[in-house]
């Protein structure tokens, strides 16, 4: 090899072979490194998903335990106490000689049994989604708020019925969130006023619940991370919604969720 044309051709050929080998090598190295990175990312994502699933599971179990505890408390405090009183009145009747007194005890027993029937109905309503089937989502929420009003709270309520935009499952999950939030207000907030505003467009639903209660410090209070809130957050995740919670001592609590519909 010595002619200029020959050298030129050899250079072109060797250059071409070099470029081909380099390209093949680059592909191999890229596959090796990028596949490792992708695999690592996928494993991390899988792990995060597992942790999230575990949290949801724990939250569901805790929520069931909470619910059982609440039912037990309702049965013990309300039904149990009322039935004990009725038993006392019924026992008293056999020792009474005056028909007036007997009538009075019977009337009071009847009244208590009437209350027990109401309490049982309320517990059943709280437990079963039948209330939504019977009265619709808006009706069920209004019943819930009316009870608060009956207990002496001032209620400001606006409901844009979401039955058209939410599935029955979503309605039930949203109803449970509302139940839990109102339960929290009753148990902890010492509020005299609740504002409830639910409205939706074609693509988004927004729910605002606020109270004028004692509020809490979001950064140090365990309430913001307590079991009730964890159940609420799990349900919010199930809806694919976003939660905005704001509260401060003495300034009430504002609970807002936004979700796609």
């Amino acid at each position: 090899m010595g002619r200029p044309g020959e050298i030129e051709f050899a250079q072109l050929l060797f250059g071409g072979i070099g470029i081909m080998v380099m390209m093949a090598l680059a592909i191999v190295i890229f596959v090796l490194l990028y596949q490792r990175k992708l695999h690592f990312q996928q494993s991390r994502l899988h792990q995060m998903e597992m942790v999230h699933q575990k949290k949801i599971l724990e939250s569901i179990v805790a929520s069931q335990e909470n619910e059982r505890e609440r039912i037990a408390r309702d049965l013990h405090d309300e039904i149990g106490a009322s039935l004990s009183a009725v038993r006392l009145f019924v026992s008293q009747i056999q020792y009474e000689k005056s028909p007036e007194e007997m009538k009075g005890l019977a009337a009071r027993s009847g009244q208590i049994i009437g209350d027990v029937v109401k309490d049982v109905r309320q517990i059943a309503h709280n437990l079963s989604p039948v209330i939504i089937e019977n009265f619709g989502f808006a009706g069920a929420v209004k019943i819930l708020l009316n009870r608060m009003e009956d207990a002496g709270m001032d209620i400001h309520c606006t409901i844009d019925d979401p039955a058209e935009v939410l599935s029955s499952y979503q309605q039930l999950v949203l109803y449970r969130i509302i139940q839990e939030v109102i339960g929290n207000v009753v148990k902890h907030a010492e509020a005299s006023e609740i504002t409830f505003d639910l409205h939706h467009g074609d693509s988004r639903l927004s729910l605002l619940m606020s109270d004028n209660g004692k509020g809490f410090d979001m950064f140090s209070s365990p309430k913001s991370a307590g079991m009730g809130m964890s159940t609420i957050r799990t349900r919010i995740d199930l809806l694919g919604a976003k939660l905005e919670l704001s509260s401060a001592p003495g300034e009430g609590t504002r609970f807002k969720i936004e979700m796609p519909v």
Partner: protein, 216 residues
């Protein structure tokens, strides 16, 4: 008998084939189907290399082995990759591909009677394109599935990397080899040295593939 450095490099391509064949012998018993096919390919390459070396020593042309080798190599590689990629279209097409490939090689061989130095580069070039495509398809599958944690422990990563480098590096050689044969003897010797070095690399990657398979 005196051999030039280039001749020794070409002559010693036998060694990596021998090493890979040794690994294949160790590995064959417990290997799964695709690895068994790779072992057959290596045994066949060893047989062809041995025969060609014998002819070389006796100064007899061994070029008639070339179409036999590339046809068998093409058949075994497409068969292996049809199992590794597990794609229905490839399983359906592999027979047709082999038929077409054999027909092209036969037509080219029979069309050039009496030319003792002429090598069929069309068959080898087509094989290069197909094998490069199969190796890239394997890499694509690896990306798609993301099942493998460490690709370096995956036998067919090594096989695919070796084949991709070998056929990419040799592609221009296969295209121009008949032209270069007539163009310059010196350049011809040099390209066959490059081809031999690529061959070293290919059989070393085969041996590594069988070794990591053994480790697994």
């Amino acid at each position: 008998m005196h051999y030039s450095r280039e001749q020794l490099i070409v002559l010693f391509t036998y060694l990596p084939v021998l090493v890979a064949a040794g690994m294949a012998l160790v590995r064959y018993g417990k290997a799964d189907r695709p690895v068994k096919l790779l072992c057959w390919l290596i045994f066949f390459a060893l047989l062809i290399e041995s025969i060609s070396r014998i002819f070389w020593f006796f100064k007899v042309s061994n070029l008639f082995l070339w179409p036999i080798y590339i046809t068998v190599e093409f058949a075994l590689l497409t068969w292996t990759y049809s199992l590794v990629l597990n794609q229905t279209w490839l399983v359906t097409l592999r027979g047709w591909m082999l038929g077409a490939f054999t027909a092209i090689v036969l037509v080219r061989e029979l069309g050039q009677p009496g030319q003792s130095v002429w090598i069929d580069n069309a068959g080898r070039s087509i094989e290069s394109v197909v094998v490069i495509f199969l190796a890239l398809a394997y890499f694509y599958k690896v990306f798609q599935e993301l099942k493998v944690q460490n690709l370096l422990l995956e036998p067919f990563f090594w096989v695919s990397a070796g084949l991709l480098l070998f056929f990419s590096g040799n592609f221009l050689i296969f295209i121009f080899m008949n032209f270069i044969l007539l163009y310059s003897k010196n350049l011809n010797d040099q390209i066959w040295v490059i081809h031999a070095l690529m061959n070293y690399m290919l059989y070393i990657t085969y041996a590594i593939a069988l070794w990591v398979g053994l480790e697994k």
